[in-house]
Subunit: 224 residues, 2 copies
DNA sequence: TTGCTATTTAATTAAATAATATAATTATTT
DNA sequence: AAATAATTATATTATTTAATTAAATAGCAA
């Protein structure tokens, strides 16, 4: 080992890549990108058994991608750092650029993408400071609670139609959700526009916002 | 498949990660990050048989990481885009941050790292425009030929001691090689300093320079 | 055509690893 | 001690893996 440093390094890099080489584990990573979570919650989110979830988490931990802490009888997992989100993103970007099948899914399910002209993180930050926008978080409540864009209102996709009055009037609405591939914010924007409300999507999602070092609010944030 | 777009996407992302989940394939990627190459050259670079190399290249191609073109009877491979370099880099960075074994190798073999204060790409670019530095490329000749930092002189690690007079005098020397983990540039800087020549390393290596969109020279570059 | 070279497939082997399910175990709290 | 949450152990079944050897294909040159 120690006589072939390059070989050792590449073996370790491969270990990390391998840990991401399974869809269920990628789903765990995506889930954790929203904020820390217990094993049971992760098991529900991915549809795997608890024992199975635990095994996969073990592999992610061995690859250095997640860490955990104890909270009473529960074990709470989190991504071991923001670089993991960047890595996950680089993976998505590469796949999107070069795999025909990904492009096809994008075309069929996300083709409103370009038309909805997403707003960049920097621009949203600037307009938040001006107070000229309302931000809408369409993710599940627990993910919102763990962390969200400052001042964002949480209305899940299903409730949106009934709770339109909860949105401040007269301001443009910026919607976001879990990441680049999350359809919920597309749906939200489409619905709002159908109701005559000016709305746009934020580029990517909450994990990328946080990974960019922009301010966040919630239980799972540096401040609290 | 088409009824579960998210599942399809994650399966594809996993496919890409899996392709990077094997040390030999990572070595192929690192090799190709220097510039395009034929199968035989790649086989030699990695120490694998030609047939085996071909198989691994097939997997990389299926994952959308490499493409190829024919040149006479030869097949020349190249990375399918700069994002692949960024992905490879994100992988390294994550592993470095979170895996103890990587940190140990780094500590033992690369511990001169911090002391040699690397120069950033931006700073080197600025100083190149001023003409206040000489750039030294310590990679093998063929990689240099495929592409290099504009104006760089190619002296391989082994030749350096005998060819010191080929370096212009009176300017600081900036050395670089294949990437973040390449020891050759460390050695070169150490040797130059021992000879009383002011020298520093460039951060990362040639692939990252190129991926950053900075200008390059050589046979395998946009211009030629 | 014939041969030469470079690369890709195909077929095979043997080893390793895969994911999941079930059951038992550990640790913590009440 | 009982209850809860997570991990570990064990087993099963299937798949996958990398690598070798040999055969096949494609382009080029004599």
């Amino acid at each position: 080992m120690t006589q072939n440093p390059k070989g050792t390094l590449f073996a370790q890099f491969a270990l990390v890549a391998k840990a991401l080489g399974q869809p269920n584990r990628l789903e765990l990573v995506e889930s954790l990108a929203q904020g820390e979570r217990g094993v049971e919650a992760l098991s529900k989110a991915t549809g795997m058994s608890i024992a199975n979830t635990s095994q996969h988490l073990k592999q992610l931990r061995q690859a250095g991608l997640v860490t955990s802490r104890k909270d009473g009888t529960s074990v709470i997992y989190r991504l071991s750092g923001e670089e993991v989100i960047l890595l996950f993103n680089a993976l998505q970007r590469t796949a999107e650029r070069h795999l025909a099948e990904v492009q096809q899914v994008v075309g069929v399910y996300y083709n409103a993408r370009d038309h909805l002209e997403p707003i960049s993180r920097e621009e949203l930050m600037a307009r938040l400071n001006e107070g000229s926008v309302s931000v809408l978080d369409v993710r599940p409540k627990d993910e919102y609670a763990a962390g969200h864009v400052p001042g964002a209102i949480n209305i899940t996709s299903g409730e949106l139609e009934k709770r339109l009055e909860d949105l401040p009037e007269g301001r443009e609405v910026i919607a976001y959700c879990r990441g680049t591939w999350c359809v919920l914010s597309f749906n939200a924007v489409a619905l709002l526009r159908a109701k005559g409300i000016t709305a746009r999507r934020l580029e990517d999602g909450y994990p990328e916002w946080k990974a960019s070092g922009l301010p966040v609010e919630g239980t799972n944030t540096p401040a609290s």
